[in-house]
Symmetry: C2
Subunit: 333 residues, 2 copies
């Protein structure tokens, strides 16, 4: 149906081998014939058949970008930042195939022939089966966003525990001692890490941990709203709340607004992620910046090096989180 190198060969009166060499800028060809062939190819609107090329070169030109899920528990900003970051690096060198791991019933499609490399944006330990499958298939891989025990693996993530620690320490430094937490999606590693950071900061400062101040969420807006409502029913209200992500902080703000509780006068709030959105709220949200786009870019770069056979150390890299002070935390006493 489409134009092939044989069609070009016929017109140019050469063999298809010569055409192949011309289009690939082989040194084994006369510059004149090369130009002639390229002109014809251009006129015919020739585009190579990647299936055929892939078959013989054992290269698919595909890079897989896998999220744990692309629906539940993945915020829009996170998703967008990741795709932007990765896409920025690979441009038109490779095709980017975006998938949710939970979309697969079996992993048969995952194959060295179909993917030159794979980026796993992992949020849950449930992804481990997938990750091992990929490693077993010997596909160049980077695992981002969550610590995976496997040695001999490129693993880039932000130091969430330390970030959460910073957030809560910031609250403590501002005089708060009654500090609650709204947790993230159950089963996600980040949920656990952020909670640990919260608890450590409290313990290091001699503040006892109160069960009533620990409420569940699932990273989405509505869950933050509900969680804050739950907190507001307590006899002894907290003076500050650490929200495990920014989306939930927005939900929490809504619940506070409905009760007429002003932020930060009556209640301090701190988030996690640094969605660009939340800096435009009133009050602007104090939060922990997580370098998602940077993680994505760095992951994509290392993956490409891996694919191209450049030696790159298989190590775990932590990128720093950062406290962004805005207007939602007040010093008390």
């Amino acid at each position: 149906m489409s134009v092939t190198i044989k069609d070009i060969a016929n017109i140019a009166n050469v063999s298809h081998t010569t055409v192949s060499r011309a289009l690939n800028d082989s040194p084994l060809i006369n510059p004149e014939t090369r130009d002639k062939i390229k002109t014809i190819a251009h006129e015919l609107n020739y585009t190579p058949n990647y299936s055929a090329r892939s078959l013989v070169l054992e290269k698919s030109y595909n890079i897989g970008l896998f999220f744990s899920t692309i629906t539940k528990g993945t915020s829009s900003h996170f998703f967008h930042d990741v795709v932007k970051g990765v896409n920025h690096i690979i441009k038109d060198k490779y095709s980017l195939i975006v998938k949710g791991i939970d979309d697969y019933q079996n992993y048969n499609l995952i194959n060295k022939n179909n993917f030159d490399g794979i980026i796993v944006m992992t949020q849950s330990t449930k992804d481990n089966a997938f990750i091992y499958r990929v490693l077993e298939k010997n596909i160049p891989t980077v695992v981002l966003n969550r610590e995976v025990e496997e040695p001999n693996l490129i693993n880039i993530l932000s130091d969430d525990k330390r970030g959460a620690y910073k957030a809560v320490r910031h609250l403590i430094e501002n005089g708060h001692r009654k500090i609650a937490i709204i947790e993230g999606q159950e089963g996600f590693k980040s949920t656990l890490e952020r909670k640990e950071g919260y608890m450590e900061a409290l313990m290091d400062n001699g503040i006892s941990i109160s069960k009533a101040y620990i409420v569940k969420g699932n990273y989405d807006l509505e869950s933050g709203y509900r969680a804050m409502q739950q907190l507001l029913q307590l006899e002894d209200l907290p003076t500050a709340v650490f929200c495990s992500n920014d989306d939930m902080a927005v939900g929490a703000m809504k619940a506070l607004g409905e009760k007429g509780i002003s932020i930060p006068d009556k209640m301090s709030l701190i988030g996690f992620d640094d969605n660009i959105f939340t800096s435009y709220l009133t009050p602007a949200l104090t939060t922990i910046k997580r370098p998602i786009e940077k993680i994505s870019k760095e992951g994509a770069e290392k993956l490409i090096q891996l694919i191209e056979g450049i030696d790159v150390p298989k190590e775990r890299i932590y990128l720093k989180t950062e406290l962004v002070q805005r207007e939602s935390v007040r010093a008390i006493k």
Copy 2:
């Protein structure tokens, strides 16, 4: 390197053709040998080479999802909703390749061999060159989100002009006559349509259009913030502002908050899109719901029908926008 059907054939003592038939559940095979072969394939962890299959079947199992751009002017919620919608339909039947049209220097990679079908999520007339290229290559295509003049094309979009009309009419019905607009990204069709809806609503109600009330934006938060600042410098302030999308409305809210101008008491605000985010703001944003996820799903469904040879009418479909009343508009007088 990998396991092929020939390897399986050797072990099972049959020809590779028989293996192919077994794995594809051909009726031309003895159920017993089929099961035997399938067992062996499973034990060897066989996965088909899609390049080879694609080559002979002339089918790539790839669907391209193209945005005008995936960085500037594309909001995170929009992007996420679209990918979610499309992915929900194609699941693991096809691979979804996500690209920005502006990432390409030339369109050589766009080929019937490499894409079984293409979804263009178009925002700008600049995409037309790309769209014509795709049509010229005879690739099954649906064009979403923006009206394209080409007849004989599946074109699904929301009726933005009518949506904007509804928004502004709603303001007028609430007694507003001094109504400003913050425009979207220059060059985007949606920008123009929403502005037209704004102007028509004013004219139909005998309100003259004031140049000072028309300010530029580019769909992002910051531009909404700036635009509102600009409006606030006017002698004769508007009583209501129509923001061409929700992100800019959030920016506008920020600017108002800084000046201590309360919404909706001193200024009414209405947005466009219905990001889930904005329903959690205080006040919750009144806006026009645009059925992006529905457009994406319907587009994906029709594309798959097209690919599978089912006859589907090449027509333009408008999906309805809808006024969502919340708390950011006040009745005056």
